[in-house]
């Protein structure tokens, strides 16, 4: 009876400590002005992606509401694109595409990168060597040509673009995860788990994965930013899905229509500003987490 009581106290104490740590970290994070700014901007865009389409009607296949690259009007505040579509609608709906790209590409990268990284670090040996050689090779090969080639093979619809960005992006994450795994697997609790007969899969899932994650969290946030920017660059270069409105597509049509020379600012200023704000919000948040993880950055 007394034993279980003590055990319960111990567990409560542990919970209390964890809560305290989380509270401290959150305090630290929110004392960083840039990070707070990033969260506010991100919240705004999430709101725009979720609520925007409910409040604002837009049909990507409704052409010639106005003249080609027509000036903004009372009703259509950001004018028209080269097919006479409503630009404001495309900007609002484009938020969904950018967030979707950022999130899904990052999920693929983290899933593949963590699987290979943890397995390579944990098992070591030949498997480790092979995986590390492959990631090294991928880190040397320039990504944009590879992405262009892959897009020519499997096609350019929206989900293919996500797949390509995910499958070309995992190696750096795998390397990062592997190096953290190497240090974590030496820790006492992993040894102890092994001693009482825990299986490899159990140890990797229960002990290594949860401890690797916080360490690479800031990198994961930066992956989102990178995916969003790369997608817009591809769209700008003409590799993208024309059936889905994205900011990158707007910028591409601005280039093709010579919007810069003709001064058709509505084609590239609003979409560009959204892109920069969303991307920098992730950079701000990412570096905010970095300061929590790396106390050296805080010491003045």
């Amino acid at each position: 009876m007394e034993m279980t009581d003590n055990l319960k106290k111990l567990k409560d104490r542990e919970k209390e400590l964890k809560r305290q740590k989380l509270k401290n970290n959150l305090k630290l994070f929110f004392s960083n002005k840039r990070a707070v700014f990033g969260v506010v901007i991100l919240a705004f865009f999430i709101f725009m992606a979720v609520i925007g389409p409910l409040l604002y009607d837009y049909d990507h296949f409704l052409y010639f509401l106005g003249p080609r690259v027509g000036f903004p009007t009372e009703e259509y505040k950001l004018g028209f694109d080269e097919l006479g579509r409503d630009v404001l609608g495309a900007v609002i709906y484009g938020t969904r595409a950018s967030l979707a790209i950022g999130i899904f590409v990052t999920l693929i990268i983290v899933f593949v990168g963590a699987t290979f990284g943890i397995a390579a670090g944990y098992f070591g040996g030949l498997f480790d060597i092979v995986i590390m050689r492959i990631t090294e090779a991928f880190s040397i090969i320039p990504t944009i040509p590879l992405i262009l080639t892959l897009s020519a093979i499997i096609g350019q619809n929206f989900s293919n673009i996500i797949l390509i960005l995910g499958l070309t992006g995992w190696p750096s994450t795998a390397r990062l995860v592997r190096s953290q795994t190497l240090s974590i697997k030496q820790r006492n609790y992993v040894e102890r788990a092994k001693a009482i007969g825990a299986g490899d899969i159990y140890i990797m899932m229960k002990h290594i994965l949860p401890n690797v994650f916080p360490l690479i969290f800031s990198n994961i946030i930066l992956l989102v930013q990178n995916a969003i920017i790369t997608e817009s660059t591809l769209a700008f270069l003409g590799v993208g899905d024309p059936t889905i409105p994205t900011w990158g597509q707007l910028l591409r049509s601005a280039r093709e229509q010579g919007a810069i020379s003709t001064g058709s600012w509505w084609l590239f200023i609003p979409a560009g500003i959204c892109l920069v704000l969303l991307a920098s919000s992730f950079v701000f948040i990412g570096y905010g987490f970095d300061e929590i993880n790396n106390p050296k950055l805080r010491r003045r």
Binding site: I141, P142, P145, S151, L251, I260, S261, F268, G272
Partner: protein
């Protein structure tokens, strides 16, 4: 110099070559569409014509033989004829590479130098207002897509102010009297591409340099240096910067690829007749010989640059040789 280290890197470099060639070989066999039809629809439509063409391109041989032929042609830079230009691929490529290198060599070093200097200043004033301003600015610029920054510069300097031409590499239709006139014209055309390209990349160098220096500041040897009575300036110059440069230099090495590849969107935006634009064009026209040759050449350049820098790096930081 450790001979074993060099041999090790050399073997690795050869492995990389084979990897890239193999990847290319398989990727381009997965391409959709029938390449023979792209070359000539009429000949490929008749069975005899097809057979002749297959024989001509060596497609009738077994896969493994094709693979070795492929390695041979890649090593000897024999890339065949472009589907689109009907010219030897090598000729097209070399004329474009030159233009890309001009852009890359003019921009990348500027970006690196601004980034490193900015990083040093920010780290020296870490936590102060200057640091906050520099770091935040570079984070925003880091998040800006290169091509959008270039579009804004183009709008301001090219269209509104009219200081520089808005695209191309040389004023069309002009016969330059001498080299100086040509260089002056080139300089005007380079101005905005170089400005936007170097600005677009400096942010990441700045952030890495700052992070690396802030890390070094907490080392014991910095404390020792201060205890010896060195001024802050001396500490930074003699102890912090050299040590912080080690991780940064690996990043510089890996970014050398930017000189060859980074400017895709800039080349497209400014109609710069370089590799990036050629590749985009070859993708949309399904010009496979040009695509695979440029893939290969870019990879070769990057692999060789890596090899050279690995060797140089082992001089700067002898610790890597011990491994």
């Amino acid at each position: 110099m450790n001979m074993r280290f060099i041999i090790n890197r050399l073997i690795y470099t050869i492995f990389m070559f084979i990897f890239v060639i193999t990847l290319n070989f398989f990727l381009f066999r997965l391409m959709p569409g029938d390449p023979l039809t792209i070359v000539s629809k009429e000949i490929a439509s008749s069975p005899e014509g097809r057979a002749t063409m297959e024989k001509m391109y060596g497609l009738d041989k077994p896969m493994i033989e094709q693979y070795f032929d492929y390695i041979k042609s890649m090593i000897t830079f024999d890339f065949g004829t472009s589907f689109n230009y009907k010219q030897p691929v090598t000729e097209i490529l070399f004329s474009k590479i030159k233009n890309s290198l001009i852009l890359g060599f003019a921009s990348v070093p500027i970006g690196i130098v601004i980034g490193l200097l900015g990083g040093i200043v920010a780290a020296a004033r870490r936590g102060k207002r200057t640091d906050m301003v520099i770091t935040t600015t570079s984070m925003i610029i880091y998040a800006i897509p290169t091509f959008w920054l270039a579009m804004i510069f183009l709008m301001v300097f090219g269209v509104k102010l009219g200081w520089v031409p808005i695209n191309g590499m040389a004023t069309p239709g002009v016969d330059f009297v001498n080299n100086i006139a040509y260089l002056k014209d080139l300089f005007y055309h380079l101005a905005i591409p170089v400005l936007s390209y170097s600005l677009a990349i400096f942010g990441s160098y700045l952030l890495i340099m700052r992070g690396s220096m802030v890390d070094v500041f907490t080392e014991d040897y910095v404390l020792t240096a201060r205890a010896k009575g060195l001024t802050e300036k001396q500490v930074i110059r003699r102890h912090v910067v050299p040590n912080a440069m080690l991780p940064v230099s690996t990043m510089i090495i890996s970014s050398l690829a930017l000189i060859f590849t980074g400017a895709f969107s800039i080349e497209v935006l400014f109609s710069w007749p370089g590799m990036g634009r050629l590749m985009i064009e070859s993708v949309s026209r399904r010009d496979y010989p040009v695509m695979q040759a440029s893939n290969y050449l870019i990879a070769v350049a990057v692999i060789l640059a890596n090899f050279i820098m690995d060797i140089l790096y082992s001089y700067i930081d002898p610790r890597v040789r011990v491994e």
